[in-house]
């Protein structure tokens, strides 16, 4: 059953934060809300938690309408981007607080808190106050408090965004494992597509107060149902261009064209939009299933072992991402490999027509 939003909207004054949304999140699963800042992730979470009331519509939890139920009566836990702990309580008391409010027996409290503390490596600092801890430890404490009460719904609002890189990686690996056996429905908000992919489970892509698409994370990444969804779920941004199909050939321009991949041959002639992820537009690489395009380099940057080139490709401003170091000067002409077999093809209202399943299965994100 899990959590379910039925025709939920949220307005504040004349501003609409959430347009009518219907969403059923898989229970007992890791659900990611993916969207940029102001896309409505936090508002959706607050609606699910009951911290805010929807302007219209209903929130259902495990087959029960909880729309007007006060937060205290819902079995919900939340972890924020900022590290929120009770500053006057020690780490132990912080973790124990939801249990104590629920009047759990003292020795049971001790047992459960110590168990969670062990899991989150907080045992040596149980007697310290939150202000004496590092950011990572503070967020672990907040996570422990969310875990200890065995909430049916756990909301994690960009919990790793304020942590440094190393800690973020570490906690990100642990998170799905921590919640794996609890049976809780976990909702995790992030603005990073990569993070969604690493956390797995299910993802909802959000754009400007609307849920664009919801489904298993990997499916959503490989074949996003719409251009909008693909845009949200791509970093660097996905490249798009108008193509024309004439007979069995797709034309980007008169000189750049390719034979329609299997499955697209019967498509009616006319204009379509292609979506090309930056790592499907490379400098060199495999020679199969590619079309070579000439590109004028606008910006070239090297991040570690990746080269990112912003270039003008037949009048389109595209981004290319390739392995290895490829130094370019601004204004250079580069030859890029366009992996046409891995492109996403959209019709003119932006919904996905299809993509080549067999090549996609070999397609590893980054």
């Amino acid at each position: 059953m899990g959590i379910e939003l039925r025709r939920v909207t949220k307005q504040l004054g004349s501003e609409t934060h959430i347009y009518e949304t219907n969403l059923v999140l898989e229970s007992g699963e890791f659900n990611v809300l993916l969207g940029t800042t102001l896309s409505g992730k936090t508002t959706l979470m607050r609606l699910m938690a009951g911290l805010e009331r929807p302007s219209s519509g209903e929130v259902w939890h495990n087959g029960e309408n909880v729309t007007g139920l006060p937060v205290q009566k819902r079995n919900v836990a939340m972890v924020y981007q900022a590290f929120v702990n009770y500053p006057n309580f020690t780490v132990f008391d912080n973790i124990a607080s939801p249990l104590r409010v629920a009047r759990v027996q003292a020795d049971e409290v001790r047992r459960r808190v110590e168990g969670i503390a062990e899991l989150l490596k907080l045992t040596p600092i149980l007697e310290r106050l939150p202000n004496e801890l590092s950011g990572g430890q503070q967020q672990r404490t907040a996570l422990a408090r969310a875990l200890v009460k065995d909430a049916a719904l756990v909301l994690l609002d960009e919990p790793l965004a304020n942590l440094d890189y190393k800690l973020r990686e570490e906690l990100r690996d642990e998170l799905p494992k921590l919640f794996q056996d609890t049976g809780a429905t976990v909702v995790y908000a992030t603005s990073e597509p990569l993070e969604a992919l690493m956390l797995g489970g299910y993802t909802a892509t959000l754009e400007q107060g609307r849920v664009v698409e919801y489904g298993p994370t990997v499916r959503l990444y490989r074949s996003p149902g719409s251009l909008a969804s693909a845009r949200v779920f791509s970093d660097p941004p996905i490249n798009t261009a108008q193509v024309e199909k004439r007979g069995p050939i797709f034309f980007l321009t008169e000189s750049v064209h390719w034979t329609a991949p299997a499955g697209f041959r019967d498509l009616a002639d006319g204009h379509y939009t292609i979506g090309v992820r930056p790592h499907h537009l490379t400098i060199g690489g495999i020679d199969q299933g590619v079309v070579k395009v000439r590109a004028r380099v606008l910006v070239a940057e090297i991040s570690g072992s990746e080269s990112i080139v912003h270039a003008d490709v037949e009048g389109n401003l595209w981004v290319s991402e390739s392995h290895g170091i490829h130094p370019f000067e601004v204004g250079d002409i580069a030859e890029l490999f366009l992996h046409v077999g891995r492109c996403l093809y959209f019709d003119n209202d932006g919904s996905l027509i299809g993509h080549q399943a067999d090549t996609a299965s070999r397609d590893r994100p980054h």
Partner: protein
């Protein structure tokens, strides 16, 4: 230059401490010595002035009266200001900003303006010459001050703390008492300090609204022209003792005050 770095601060502190030293100096002298000779320290050291204050009820009752209404006022002001400041820091309501500013404007009027209405009102309802009369009158100035100070401290606490507590199952009052008040303890300390100090030094209302039963020490001090002439030594001793409670309170909140200054609310 380097070797004389201590010079300016030392001079500053000497100038600052001089009147206090002189008061202390006088309090250990006899009135005759004060009037007759110029001496930097008491030549004829005496504790008689203090002895008189601690044994004569007209004197020590002055202190007890003052402390009574000051403590009353501080307790009332802070406990009323706590929920008010919480509302200002957490909720948006119609006219909230205007109301908040209006609170402050209460402090812009001189207390003398309110002396007459308070005097008449309290006389009419039988509150004249009681401790609570002075305590309530001082609330007029101290509650806005306390609300202003506390609002600053409370707004520095993220709203997510409240929400986390509700999600953990805390009721509002349980959260407020067990988590929120300890979190803003520094602010409460600062607000209480300022209420205490203001009420302690305020003279006009305290004098106007009392006659005998609740006469404050400051009023007692202004009536020391006895048949023996001015008792300057006694007056100095009383003055010295008046400084003591303030010094005590400031010692306890000295660390919080710096925090209050950092928030721009003191």
């Amino acid at each position: 230059m380097r070797t004389h770095r201590w010079l300016v601060p030392t001079l500053y502190i000497v100038f600052l401490m001089l009147p206090i030293y002189w008061l202390l100096n006088m309090s250990f002298k006899t009135t005759n010595e004060i009037l007759g000779t110029f001496s930097l320290w008491p030549l004829d050291f005496t504790l008689d002035n203090y002895r008189k204050i601690f044994t004569d009820p007209t004197w020590y009752n002055g202190y007890l009266n003052s402390i009574t209404y000051v403590v009353m006022n501080t307790v009332i002001s802070v406990s009323v200001a706590l929920p008010a400041a919480y509302a200002f820091s957490r909720y948006r309501f119609l006219g909230d900003k205007h109301l908040f500013f209006w609170l402050l404007t209460n402090r812009m009027a001189p207390p003398a303006v309110f002396a007459l209405p308070f005097f008449q009102l309290y006389s009419a309802i039988g509150l004249f010459d009681t401790h609570i009369a002075v305590a309530l009158a001082h609330c007029l100035f101290n509650i806005p001050l306390a609300v202003w100070i506390l609002e600053g401290f409370m707004s520095a606490v993220p709203k997510e703390l409240d929400e986390t507590a509700y999600l953990d199952g805390y009721s509002f009052w349980r959260f407020f008492v067990k988590i929120f008040i300890p979190t803003v303890a520094a602010g409460i300390g600062v607000a209480a300090f300022f209420c205490f100090m203001y009420s302690w030094v305020e003279l006009l209302l305290a004098k106007t609204l009392t006659s005998v039963a609740a006469k404050p020490i400051a009023a007692t001090m202004t009536r020391t022209a006895s048949t023996a002439g001015y008792e300057l030594g006694l007056l100095a001793a009383a003055g010295t003792l008046t400084l003591v409670p303030g010094a005590f309170v400031i010692y306890f909140v000295r660390n919080y005050i710096a925090k209050g200054f950092a928030l721009g609310r003191v």
